[in-house]
């Protein structure tokens, strides 16, 4: 036997062996560290910057300035208003479309859905530029009609995001219930409000979620189509970023987070948690 010391050095090995069962869970460590460094900490930084001043001392300066400067809080109102308007128009246009697409007789193999989704894969800045130029060409230029142009651009961009979640809920729609309702003497309008609408409510909620927040926070569409005349949260935060005004920018971000929290609380009971259908998730 050589010596006990050399043995002591290799002691770690067997312990490591013992934990071979746990190895798979250790695979999550890089991702956990990544989430901590690049998601959790940055989110906390936002709160830190929102409630401090330039020198780093605690301060409500950004908050006070946000709520007392009309040009700042009007951004909130404009964004909310445009968000609601776009969501409603998208729902009105997308709901019948999703209903038709979910009908197997009209859309036998789902190719039509792919056609609706396909434009989303073309770079959206180019698409926005194209929309602007096309509107210019037909005389609806953003310079003259900023609100209308922006609204058209938003609807154009977010309509597919409305149709997808509605389409997925409508696929699960129990059509025999509708037949039963009309069999019992309900007229089509009654069938719709009493049966179809409640059944598709979760789809409506998640479609609204997917339109409302992104519209409020969008930058490129409003900036390009209104030719800089309409300022949304996105534009406002972007401006703060280009001017290195981290505190007021962060405060606006916090306001956005609060709005998200509120909408999530409201929609919580409808949300089925398929988060992957949000944003690009439903595309594939």
């Amino acid at each position: 036997m050589s010596s006990n010391e050399t043995m002591a050095k290799t002691k770690k090995g067997s312990k490591f062996r013992l934990f071979f069962r746990l190895k798979r869970r250790y695979l999550a460590i890089p991702y956990a560290i990544f989430l901590l460094l690049f998601v959790l900490i940055p989110m906390l930084m936002i709160f830190w910057y929102a409630f401090t001043d330039k020198a780093g001392n605690p301060s409500g300066e950004a908050a006070v300035s946000f709520f007392t400067t009309p040009s700042k809080w009007s951004v909130l109102l404009v964004s909310l208003f445009l968000g609601v308007q776009t969501t409603l128009i998208c729902l009105l246009l997308g709901y019948p479309a999703a209903y038709i697409l979910a009908n197997k007789k009209l859309n036998r193999n789902g190719v039509l859905v792919v056609l609706f989704v396909l434009p989303m894969w073309i770079n959206f800045v180019i698409r926005t530029g194209a929309t602007r130029d096309l509107l210019d060409w037909i005389g609806l230029s953003g310079g003259k009609y900023p609100w209308a142009a922006t609204l058209i651009g938003m609807v154009y961009n977010y309509l597919p995001f409305t149709i997808l979640p509605l389409y997925t809920t409508m696929l699960k729609l129990d059509r025999s219930q509708m037949e039963a309702a009309s069999d019992l003497g309900a007229n089509p309008v009654q069938v719709f409000f009493k049966n179809v609408l409640p059944q598709t409510l979760p789809g409506i909620v998640s479609a609204s979620e997917m339109v409302f927040m992104p519209v409020m926070s969008s930058y490129v569409i409003s900036d390009t189509l209104s030719e800089g005349k309409i300022t949304l949260f996105g534009n406002s935060i972007y401006l703060n970023f280009t001017n290195s005004q981290w505190n007021s920018g962060s405060f606006m971000a916090v306001v956005m987070l609060v709005i998200i929290a509120i909408t999530m609380v409201i929609t919580h009971k409808f949300d089925r948690g398929d988060a992957s259908t949000r944003r690009g998730g439903g595309l594939w």
């Binding site: 695979l27 901590l36 998601v39 989110m43 180019i126 926005t128 927040m213 996105g234």
Partner: protein
């Protein structure tokens, strides 16, 4: 009576078709107009100077556009590959982790999914600025900060795509592989990966789409590097945004749009084709099995 019902259905069907195609026409109008006018060299939309491919030549000669396209592809590929690896391993690890860690990581994973891009972008920028002010005075925005931004954007979606596949998988498969002599790493590769591959693949596709399309995070987190050399990295999104702010879309971008459209159509057709064949193959095998029984 029967006839009238049939007729009503027929009329409904026609209306439905008209509605769908009308919507599609609206959706495709800007793109199709752009594609059409990519074959003429007029400065603005609506003017037809005769058919020519000259814009395509101009496109490939424009260094700025080629740099942006190159940067976009590099960033998209690198970030989506890393996101796929990070997210897939993350999902596997979390699946095995205890309840406490599972909940914490899933919650954090959800943050980038529900938060608007601009908030994420600002949060990251603020973090980098904070690091520069307080810890590393030499800290510079670069390709790496951009990469971090794109990873934050896309990795959660990889995670969310892999997770359900893990849940559907029979956990005994991994153990069976160990039982038959695989080391843990081999077992992951041979037993787990084939089962979750569809989720990994769709996660990768989403990651690449998110990265290709992104403007905000790139604008916030990019620094000098890649093909842009000493100047700030430009991607298709940031480049186009820069030029269309004050002017109409430059003519050669019409050609770029037409090419992207072509590629997208080809990819989608290929994916549909592959999917069809896989389904057909599966049902065909089923048929065969039934015959044998």
């Amino acid at each position: 009576m029967v006839e009238s019902v049939e007729r009503k259905e027929k009329i409904q069907k026609v209306f439905a078709q008209i509605y769908i195609w009308f919507l599609l026409l609206l959706m495709y109008a800007p793109i199709l107009v752009l594609v059409a006018f990519s074959f003429t060299d007029a400065d603005v939309l609506g003017k037809w100077n005769g058919f020519t491919f000259s814009l395509y030549g101009k496109l490939f000669r424009s260094e700025a556009i080629m740099v942006a396209v190159g940067n976009t592809l590099i960033v998209a590929l690198v970030s989506s590959v890393i996101a796929t690896i990070l997210g897939t391993f993350g999902a596997i690890g979390v699946y095995e982790a205890n309840r406490h860690w599972k909940r914490t990581i899933e919650f954090t994973n959800q943050i980038p999914v529900v938060t608007p891009e601009i908030v994420l972008a600002l949060a990251l920028t603020v973090l980098f600025v904070f690091c520069r002010e307080h810890f590393f005075p030499n800290f510079q925005f670069s390709f790496w900060t951009l990469l971090a931004g794109h990873l934050v954007l896309s990795t959660p979606f990889v995670y969310l795509n892999v997770k359900p596949k893990l849940e559907q998988m029979d956990p005994a498969l991994y153990e069976a592989a160990l039982d038959l002599g695989c080391h843990p790493r081999q077992a992951l590769w041979k037993a787990t990966l084939p089962e979750i591959a569809p989720g990994v693949f769709s996660g990768f596709l989403i990651a690449i789409t998110l990265s290709l399309d992104d403007f905000i995070v790139t604008a916030f987190t990019a620094g000098p590097g890649l093909l842009s050399g000493e100047s700030k990295i430009s991607t298709i999104s940031t480049y186009v945004q820069g030029v269309i702010k004050k002017h109409p879309l430059p003519p050669e971008l019409r050609a770029l749009c037409a090419l992207i459209f072509l590629v997208v159509v080809l990819v989608v057709v290929a994916l549909i084709f592959v999917n069809r064949r896989r389904q057909a193959g599966a049902s065909g095998r089923h048929e065969k099995a039934r015959m044998k029984l």
